[in-house]
């Protein structure tokens, strides 16, 4: 018993050390370098930077609202009704996760550009061309694309929150005479607040700091892109650090505001007993409506990527509704680019390592906070959730600062020499929360008595872990790992900032560089983007096959 405790505290200490060095230290360095009063004043005085921050903030708010409008109705439909295709909806809702938004931006421009698909349709119908992407059009496009990428996060959180509400509470409301709407506003909505908070704050911070999408739209007046552009003169001008610091503060404020707005802790008690009885079966044609809503949203989400397919395989896809023929030449030209093939290998290596690190750390954090219940494990849990509120640019800049400041950091991962570990750890740190959430919820759903029973029958702590605990949460483990892996593959801000030498570029940076080539650039970037999407899709499908029948249950966060 005592040796066990010592081991647990030792493991926890190692974790705290890891998170301090790779999460707190980078943040601290950003604060230290960026916290220069004259620089802060410079940012505040500069109209360009003020506009950039304001634009980012507006993108964040608008995107979050869009996400809420998309996901809340769908989540309610999923929770309330039993309809054909319901079991596929969770899967469909995950689709955007494998569709990188900054690649989607390429397809979106194809759809809405001056000589794009919609305008071709308008012309064919005898209307004037509309400039969707001029003026505020770019802003709305960025929000829309980001919303289409981020709604699954919100959706999953709400579905989970709804699932945690005991149907009996609603039945009691109905029994006392509350109608549908009264019950929704007085019972369901207050009880699903934790889900709204969790989903909303992540989406808010994420869209505030999103770099790839505005970059692809050429929307340079947003803070993250301005930071990236300042990167080249970093040695002479530490202003980007200050911008990063301001983004960190604003992110933290956003987090706090959403916390205050949606309020404290959950008072929903977990469901006891059978809950499947709560969903309503719809009659006749009405039963297809919920499914149709899911199809519509999923279609919107994949439309830009369908256009991307058109660019990738299409001949002369310009000023026409459909491509003028089929060709593989864009794939040829993409593959002939020196960046492309190595970047695939690089991304696989970085993401695999990142997954290993994130899963190891995540599992231990989850065990410590759910099972071991050590003193201080709540603080550890909080620390591991910090990356949700800390923007990717902050971590990336902090890592950059570390390699400049400390010789050991420079020796271990110099971004110029070989950024393997630098990128792997930067990717991993920001994916830890997803693993912790996923594994933690698995542990919470697994009665501790099952582990007690194994110990009672003579299994050592290690045997219990390997034979009982891990097999029981294998689905959660896989989901956490997959998310860590695929998010790493699609990661933009760390990749753009930390991969400095072309031979170490990951997929995202190669894609971006490719899209910048004039002329053939966008089409070969699209071809490469299609390849990357297919690869991710195969990974997710493989996981689905591995999990078999449990595919539906793995997506409940």
């Amino acid at each position: 018993m005592k040796i066990n405790r010592i081991f647990q505290y030792g493991t926890m200490a190692a974790l705290v050390l890891f998170l301090s060095v790779f999460l707190l230290l980078p943040v601290f360095i950003v604060i230290q370098v960026g916290c220069d009063w004259s620089l802060i004043m410079e940012v505040c005085r500069s109209q360009v930077y003020r506009e950039g921050l304001l634009n980012s903030l507006q993108i964040a708010v608008v995107t979050t609202l869009m996400v809420a409008v998309i996901s809340v109705p769908l989540a309610l439909l999923y929770d309330r009704f039993d309809f054909p295709g319901r079991e596929w909806c969770s899967l469909a809702m995950l689709l955007p996760m494998i569709l990188p938004p900054f690649v989607g931006a390429l397809g979106f421009q194809q759809l809405l550009g001056h000589y794009g698909v919609f305008n071709s349709i308008l012309v064919a119908l005898g209307f004037e061309r509309v400039d969707f992407l001029s003026g505020n059009g770019v802003f709305w496009s960025v929000c829309f694309i980001e919303a289409l990428h981020l709604y699954p996060i919100f959706y999953l959180n709400i579905v989970t929150a709804l699932g945690n509400i005991d149907p009996a509470l609603n039945e009691a409301g109905a029994n006392l005479g509350g109608n549908k709407w009264q019950r929704f506003f007085r019972i369901t909505l207050p009880l699903m607040r934790p889900g709204l908070l969790a989903g909303g704050s992540i989406v808010l911070v994420w869209s505030f700091t999103e770099m790839g999408t505005p970059l692809m739209f050429g929307f340079t007046r947003v803070a993250p892109v301005q930071i990236l552009n300042g990167l080249n003169e970093l040695e002479t001008n530490p202003l980007p650090y200050t911008l990063v610091l301001i983004m960190l503060i604003v992110s933290a404020l956003l987090y706090l505001v959403s916390r205050l707005a949606l309020g404290g802790s959950s008072n929903a008690t977990p469901v006891k007993g059978n809950t499947s009885s709560s969903s309503v079966k719809l009659a006749s044609w009405k039963k297809f409506l919920p499914g149709a809503a899911f199809v519509l949203v999923s279609l919107c989400a994949i439309l830009p990527h369908l256009a991307l397919l058109g660019i990738a395989f299409g001949k002369n896809y310009y000023n026409t509704i459909l491509p003028q023929g089929f060709t593989l030449e864009h794939f040829d030209s993409a593959l002939s680019n020196v960046l492309v093939l190595p970047s695939i290998g690089n991304s696989l290596r970085y993401s695999f390592l990142a997954m290993l690190v994130a899963v190891t750390v995540g599992v231990i954090v989850a065990l410590a906070s759910v099972r071991w219940k050590l003193r201080g494990s709540a603080a550890l849990d909080l620390l591991s959730m910090l990356p949700l509120a800390v923007p990717g640019v902050v971590v990336a800049f902090g890592f950059l600062g570390m390699t400049v400041k400390f010789s050991w950091a420079a020796a271990l991962f110099d971004p110029v020499e070989n950024p393997l570990w630098l990128l792997a750890i930067a990717y991993a740190v920001r994916r830890i929360p997803y693993v912790v959430r996923s594994v933690g919820s698995g542990l919470e759903q697994t009665p501790e008595e099952l582990e007690n029973a194994a110990r009672n029958f003579g299994a050592s702590a290690w045997q219990v872990l390997c034979r009982i605990t891990l097999p029981l949460i294998v689905a959660n483990l896989l989901v956490g790992g997959l998310f860590a892996f695929s998010f790493s593959m699609l990661e933009v801000s760390d990749s753009l900032i930390l991969a400095q030498k072309s031979e170490f570029f990951p997929i995202t940076k190669a894609l971006f560089e490719l899209s910048q080539i004039l002329g053939s650039g966008p089409s070969s970037a699209s071809a490469f983007g299609v390849w990357a999407m297919c690869f991710l899709a195969v990974t997710l499908i493989a996981a689905g096959v591995l999990l078999g029948k449990r595919i539906g249950s793995i997506f409940k966060f």
Partner: protein
Amino acid sequence: MGTVSLKNICKSFTPGVPVLDDLNLEIKSGELFFLLGPSGCGKSTLMRILSGLTAADSGSISFDGVEVQDLPPEKRQAAMVFQNYALWPHMTVFENVAFGLKIRKLPRKEVQERVMEALEMVHLADCADRKAPQLSGGQQQRVALARALAVDPPLLLLDEPLSNLDARLRDAMREEISAICAKRGFTALYVTHDRQEALSMADRMGVMKDGKIRQIGTPRELYERPADRFCAEFLGDINFIDGTVDNGNFSCSFGTFPVTGEGSGKHTAAIRPERIAFANENEDGFDAELVSGSYLGDCSSWICRAGNADLVVREFAPEERTPGEHVRLKFAPGRLMILE
């Protein structure tokens, strides 16, 4: 196979509110010992302390004279039947039962034999390949029992193992458990709040309340000579009569009766309803008025007012009687117990 001895066990989850309060208990080798008590009296906690899943705040536990309180649960060799079964949902019934044997590194053939033997004991041999969650509550409970029996434990801990079975199956399993324990010579601790179960199966039993064991003895001793009011009441219906003891006689509002034991002054006497009988007019006894009654088939439970006391009288093979009727009651000398 082993003597279990608990000395001065204390445990509290919130300071100042003891769950177990300086508890002492000795279970003899090969004995089927029952702990009976209301919910929240600490009996499950005591069991978890024995199994090592919960640590006692102080006190010592020894199995066969060897102190075990510092051993982790996996070293204690005390197989437990969990109240909520705790069957592993990712394993089949067979794998669940085989777990303890595989951990003990028994050869595969022996594992196979012992698992099937245990499953046959609980009449579930044909469910071996099903996953645990596919079984009904009663079946799961029997798997939990088989899982514990399969490892042939020196100490068997049963935490309300029959609570979810229907009446007929429960009776069958009671006999089965008693027979298995006797045959294999297990030392077993059985926790329940079902007094019928305890009275019918126990070699010896203890009645627990508020973290203390109030009385230990054989079922008959406890039922017929309860140490205090709580034990008397917890084991079955009983009448309490206030009165005074003087010179070996107990005087109350409806008569004076000889009692054994010393002491004098105000006392409470107790008598079980089935020990009071209706008497003929000319027999020895005392007068009473029938107040009300309920008919239960094999017996009737009557309430009769004698003096200022309302007595419950159980009459087997009941006669037809009407409330308001005058009746004469009697009980054998020595059936009246004087409580401390």
